[in-house]
Symmetry: C2
DNA sequence: CGCCTTGTTGACACCAGTCAATTCACGTGG
DNA sequence: CCACGTGAATTGACTGGTGTCAACAAGGCG
């Protein structure tokens, strides 16, 4: 169990095991010298948080517990054994990494070419589907335990602007967000605004 | 051989082989409805351009030949065979994907939290090291066959602003860029400006 | 020589950042 | 049960970085 606000993994570490998030929300992030922070990935229960640390020695970023998190560990030794003797499992691990990369690319597109409003809507669409995939939604709502400041660090926006954007989404009748509960009031229009295409999250894997 | 400006792989395809770039420059990109384009990855000779298509059925983005490109193919069947019988090679493929992801994360940080100037400098640092790793630099210079418009689509900036930024880098004595040849005139200060840490490119792999 | 892509410039608009104050939501202790 | 403290959310005024538009210059190539 890792407390809220603590690092699950620190930058520069060379883990000997990979960490799976079992409960809670976590975020990968990098800090810049000027104190700015950029979150490069949000993780929900079931996600491997540093699967790549098995392949690339050194953590090039840290992972933070956004909420209290419980985590599990898989020794790299075990992963090595899997990669040598269990091609099917190995493939599943690879898919995990590949989907991660697809999400990264979507974020790049959103950061580079979408407005703050569209970008925010896009992230909400993504989180909704990811959480639904692991059974953490209820109808059209889910727990989004992020502060607006954290959301800003995720989107690359200032806290103030996140606030403005969230209010616009509310005024448009697209979402309701009180406390940690986010309700998607109009999924169709939210997707439309974000130009969201769920394909990239596809856990659809190549048949063996 | 693929002509300049042609797609090496189109979005939505379900390739049965993965493509290696042998010569030339290629870019992964996505198009938005409003006509904007975002490049999500630049590829240099030696890069697998769609290794993940082995794992995830459908291409969620296209790959464009920025210059004339010669490419090689590795049937997914072969990759499957490798993944079942050659754990060491499998691991190398995994490292390839993992390094790709690390680059993606760096781009996200740059897009979210760096100024246009810093972001541009960061990309140039990255390209210099990646090209040097494959022997495509000469002292402090290399071929950068991108137009400023393409660079803008890579950085998420407008063409006009890219032009302003490039001129600033020139005025600062950091780079010279004429035609396709880019010379890094002051590597130290360029890295400093970009707050560039080459660690993430580390092809340093976990000893077996 | 003339076309066409690329690069360059200037004027201006606007989205998003910054700063600073205020309000709100809650959890805590008296 | 209520006063207070604290982090989060919200607002307003202002700034500034980047986008947009439009024109022009510079090369490369048939």
């Amino acid at each position: 169990m890792v407390n809220k606000g603590e690092d699950i993994i620190r930058e520069g570490e060379r883990p000997t095991e990979s960490t799976v998030l079992l409960e809670g929300f976590a975020a990968r992030y990098s800090l810049l010298r000027n104190g700015k922070r950029q979150i490069t990935g949000l993780h929900v229960p079931g996600d491997f948080v540093d699967l790549h640390s098995f392949l690339v020695k050194k953590m090039d970023h840290a992972v933070l517990a956004i909420t209290p998190c419980s985590v599990g560990f898989v020794p790299h030794e075990t992963l090595r054994e899997i990669s040598e003797n269990h091609p099917h499992l190995t493939r599943l691990l690879g898919v995990n990494i590949a989907v991660d990369a697809a999400i990264h690319r979507q974020w790049i597109v959103a950061m580079g070419r979408r407005s703050a409003l569209e970008h925010t809507a896009h992230l909400l669409c993504e989180m909704f589907l990811r959480l639904r995939a692991v059974g953490l939604t209820e109808d059209d709502s889910f727990k989004l335990p992020l502060t607006q400041a954290e959301l800003g660090d995720t989107l690359g926006l200032s806290t103030v602007h996140v606030n403005r954007v969230v209010q616009d989404l509310r005024k448009e009748g697209l979402i309701t967000w009180r406390g940690e509960t986010l309700v998607i009031d109009d999924w169709e229009r939210l997707q439309e605004l974000a130009e969201f295409d769920p394909t990239f999250l596809s856990l659809e894997v190549e048949p063996r």
